[in-house]
């Protein structure tokens, strides 16, 4: 059984934000989307929050659409399954669809949400390198502060420290349009294909000019630092060069960019080496 705690179940965003701004029992409830992270913690009783704010009924936070400026809007409560099934996501952010397919398995995909993955702020979050590589703004809302939009780049100040202010909920994401002619890439390395937390997770966006040199190169990685990170040295080593000429240097840059640790899932040496090799072989294939 779950810990015996109050669960608030608002049926509108307005009601949810009011419960966060003015908690009925004094302590701010912990927001819960699909529950695929927080329910595990609650079942284990390692950490027991004073109460939970169950967001599942807020249909207004679901759905995908393309905005006038070409960005892809994804409501925070959109599940991985809805992202996999969305023609808009497949067209405008194919790497996110690939990421969604690697999350858990079908039962997790039908409950887990993009907003939950971002708010949970794990450095191993499967979707996070995609949002960093393609570029994305996070839209948050509170009762007293209204709406706030900020870049996903820099959203995590440190390990599990997301820029979510007290009283705020993540409403959704504006995923930037891919540059013309760009391709995207996603790769998760885990113990097995399904139900695994990643050892290394990588995403990239690249485009070449008419002369065959790289005009866009954005690479991001998860599980290799306290937060998901952009691989700045790798990108700098590749931009302006031909993919086959610069692939090795990009790989070397990636090895320098990551600061992995040894933990239960993998070790630093493996994570650094695999990051370098996978990035190198992707760039070589461009």
């Amino acid at each position: 059984m779950l810990a015996d705690i109050p669960v608030h179940r608002p049926s509108s965003l307005e009601e949810a934000l009011a419960l966060l701004a003015d908690p009925p029992d004094g302590e701010r409830p912990t927001p819960m989307a699909g529950g695929t992270d927080i329910m595990v913690v609650l079942n284990s009783r390692h950490v027991v929050p004073s109460s939970v704010l169950d967001l599942w009924k807020l249909d207004e936070l679901r759905g995908l659409s393309v905005q006038d400026d070409g960005t892809l809007w994804i409501g925070a409560l959109s599940t991985y399954r809805s992202i996999i099934a969305s023609p808009l996501a497949n067209a405008h952010c194919p790497a996110l669809v690939e990421a969604a397919r690697t999350v858990g398995a079908v039962q997790i995909q039908s409950r887990g949400t993009l907003g939950g993955n971002v708010a949970n702020a794990s450095p191993a979050g499967d979707s996070l390198p995609v949002l960093l590589a393609q570029g994305c703004d996070v839209v948050l809302q509170s009762r007293d502060g209204g709406r706030r939009t900020r870049s996903f780049d820099g959203f995590y100040a440190g390990y599990r420290q997301a820029d979510i202010q007290p009283g705020e909920l993540i409403i959704g994401f504006r995923i930037h349009a891919l540059p013309p002619g760009a391709t995207s890439w996603y790769r998760k390395v885990g113990t097995r294909l399904a139900q695994a937390i990643s050892k290394v997770v990588l995403a990239g966006v690249a485009a070449c000019g008419d002369d065959g040199t790289l005009t866009t190169l954005r690479i991001a990685a998860g599980s290799v630092a306290p937060t998901p990170i952009r691989l700045a040295a790798a990108e700098a080593a590749g931009l302006g060069g031909r993919p086959t000429d610069v692939a090795a240097a990009v790989g070397a840059g990636a090895r320098a960019d990551v600061t992995p640790i040894d933990d239960v899932r993998s070790n630093a040496l493996y994570r650094r080496e695999v990051s370098g090799r996978l990035v190198e072989s992707w760039v070589r294939s461009l």
Partner: protein, 163 residues
């Protein structure tokens, strides 16, 4: 811990579900898991508690047709929904074709994981009556079996989809 008589235990709420085609109503704690309501309040113990952390798939049921982990689902989130458990798969003594092949192939050894596999499998076969072996393996990726090595399980699926 506060004394039971003075504690501010969250009040139970009345929950109404459709379970295997029948209406079920009961008073549940706000934090009650669907798994516990099914097993201990509705008496449907075919749904198994394995890992309690969303990893093993033993507790899978269908909510409005979709496979869900009942250990990670609050019962109150299912208000008014259509729940299907392993008890609702067979039509009386008549097993579903997947269940029949499961038995014929020996896909169950200890059997603890079987209800979860069957629930996910029925959802797959409804959506895609002729899955490839790769599609079967992707669909059951969230279900762990520690006895069979999956060979007999996949065989049961492939036989259930054969003409």
């Amino acid at each position: 811990m506060t004394d039971a008589t003075t504690s501010t235990r969250p009040a139970k709420r009345i929950l109404s579900l459709r379970i295997n085609g029948s209406t079920w109503e009961g008073a549940v704690e706000p934090s009650a898991l669907l798994l516990d309501v099914l097993r201990y309040q509705a008496g449907l113990t075919g749904t198994k508690r394995g890992c309690d952390m969303g990893t093993c798939g033993c507790c899978a049921v269908r909510v409005d047709g979709e496979p869900r982990l009942s250990c990670l689902t609050l019962a109150l989130d299912c208000e008014g929904r259509d729940i299907k458990t392993i008890e609702g798969v067979a039509d009386g003594p008549l097993l579903s074709s997947l269940q029949q092949e499961w038995a014929d192939c020996g896909a169950a050894q200890c059997g603890f994981c079987t209800p979860g596999f069957i629930m996910v499998g029925e959802a797959l076969l409804e959506r895609n009556p002729k899955p490839s072996e790769a599609e079967v393996r992707e669909a059951i990726a969230g279900n762990l079996c520690r006895c069979t090595g999956y060979v007999k399980i996949v065989e049961a699926f492939m036989r259930a989809t054969a003409d």
